[in-house]
């Protein structure tokens, strides 16, 4: 995986957690440095550890600053006036999901991470991942149908 792809994925993940572009970029770049500091440079970066580092950095940031809610950010998407009703409905449905579900859906469907990576990043078993992912999908479908 090239550096740019890793950057995009980590940035997207961090942005989802902190809801602030500047902060998301700072945390993403800090995660890169921390990764190098901890694991050195072996030629390729292991994104599983990058997620774990980024996650911890976000938690540190939460402790410092109270995060804004995701829903506030979603309402402020620029150039979103022409958005289809279907997409809008998905966003609204996502907002109603628990935070953990949204995190899982982001990692699995937006960042398209394999199960092993998500398990390592979140510190859960493969069984737990599939169970939680299935439940999250069902909840989202139920919200969309409601």
């Amino acid at each position: 995986m090239d550096l740019e792809t890793i950057y995009d994925k980590i940035y997207r993940y961090v942005y989802f957690r902190v809801n602030d572009r500047m902060m998301a970029e700072d945390i993403t770049q800090e995660a890169f440095f921390r990764y190098l500091g901890k694991y050195g440079d072996s030629g390729s970066m292991d994104i599983r550890y990058m997620y774990a580092i980024a996650r911890n950095l976000c938690i540190d940031e939460y402790r410092r600053i109270k995060p804004e809610s995701l829903s506030e950010e979603m309402e402020e998407i620029p150039g979103d006036s022409g958005i289809s009703e279907e997409k809008m409905a998905v966003r609204e449905a996502l907002e109603k999901l628990p935070y953990e579900d949204r995190e899982l859906l982001l990692l699995r469907y937006v960042n398209e991470e394999p199960a092993g990576t998500i398990c390592k990043a979140l510190g859960i078993s493969r069984f737990a991942l599939y169970r939680r992912l299935k439940a999250a999908e069902e909840r989202l479908r139920a919200e969309l149908e409601a």
Binding site: F16, R21, G37
Partner: protein, 238 residues
């Protein structure tokens, strides 16, 4: 809604603005593989000159003493060795106390790895010193190199143990010169032993009876333990 359509909708729903600093960061961020040896070499220039001056002085004293046939050169070198340990600890303390002033290194290596690197350099330095000084003195004064090495190493290792232990305590963290005080105390202890007649006899019988090797091994093991405890206490990142 089929699975793919469902996935695409989720993708679209997670909006994230384009990162502005990505290109600049990636062009700047050029990870290169840095070997352990290269990292050690990179750390050497950051070690203060007085460490090298002291090391050179010890070698100089040993050689000068051997050439001039100065009595008690081994003990003189042994009495200075605690200060090599002390300045080594000061170097580690400096990295930890100031959260590593070499900021350019902070972006590449963790604070812990820098402390380990410096400990390794100082460890190598002491090994090299002992390896040079002991045979030179032993050869010149007809002593056994092992006994000379034991005499030189014991005060050094004792200072290392005490200083590292103090360094981890609140007193040591607040007081940068604690290792120098420890070195002075060890030097005084050995000076008293060697200056007193009974102490000298006791020391000679101890060291020539094979106990010296065992003492050095025990002290070496304790030093490694203290170093490990110190490294464990260092935060991974500054």
């Amino acid at each position: 809604m089929d699975k793919n359509e469902f996935k695409n909708l989720i993708k679209d729903a997670y909006y994230a603005p384009e990162p502005e600093k990505k290109k600049e960061f990636i062009s700047r961020f050029r990870p290169r593989k840095v070997s352990t040896f290269r990292m050690l070499l990179q750390q050497i220039p950051y070690i203060r000159p007085y460490v090298w001056i002291l090391a050179a002085a010890i070698v100089g004293i040993a050689i000068a003493g051997s050439v001039t046939g100065g009595e008690g050169t081994d003990k003189l070198v042994a009495l200075i060795m605690p200060f090599t340990a002390a300045v080594g600890i000061l170097e580690n303390g400096r990295s930890r106390r100031y959260n590593m002033s070499e900021l350019e290194m902070a972006t590449r290596f963790s604070l812990r790895s820098v402390v380990i690197a410096r400990m390794t350099i100082m460890g190598f330095l002491s090994v090299i010193l002992t390896a040079i000084v002991s045979p030179v003195i032993a050869e010149s004064f007809g002593m056994q190199a092992v006994i000379t090495a034991e005499t030189v190493l014991m005060p050094y290792l004792m200072t290392m143990i005490i200083s590292l232990h103090i360094e981890r305590s609140p007193l040591g963290r607040e007081n940068g010169a604690s290792s120098i005080v420890a070195a002075g105390a060890v030097m005084l202890l050995f000076l008293l032993i060697w200056e007193s007649e009974s102490g000298n006899v006791l020391y000679s019988s101890f060291i020539s009876g094979g106990c010296g090797v065992a003492a050095v091994i025990i002290l070496g093991a304790l030093t490694l333990t203290e170093q490990w405890l110190t490294v464990r206490n260092v935060e991974a990142f500054a």
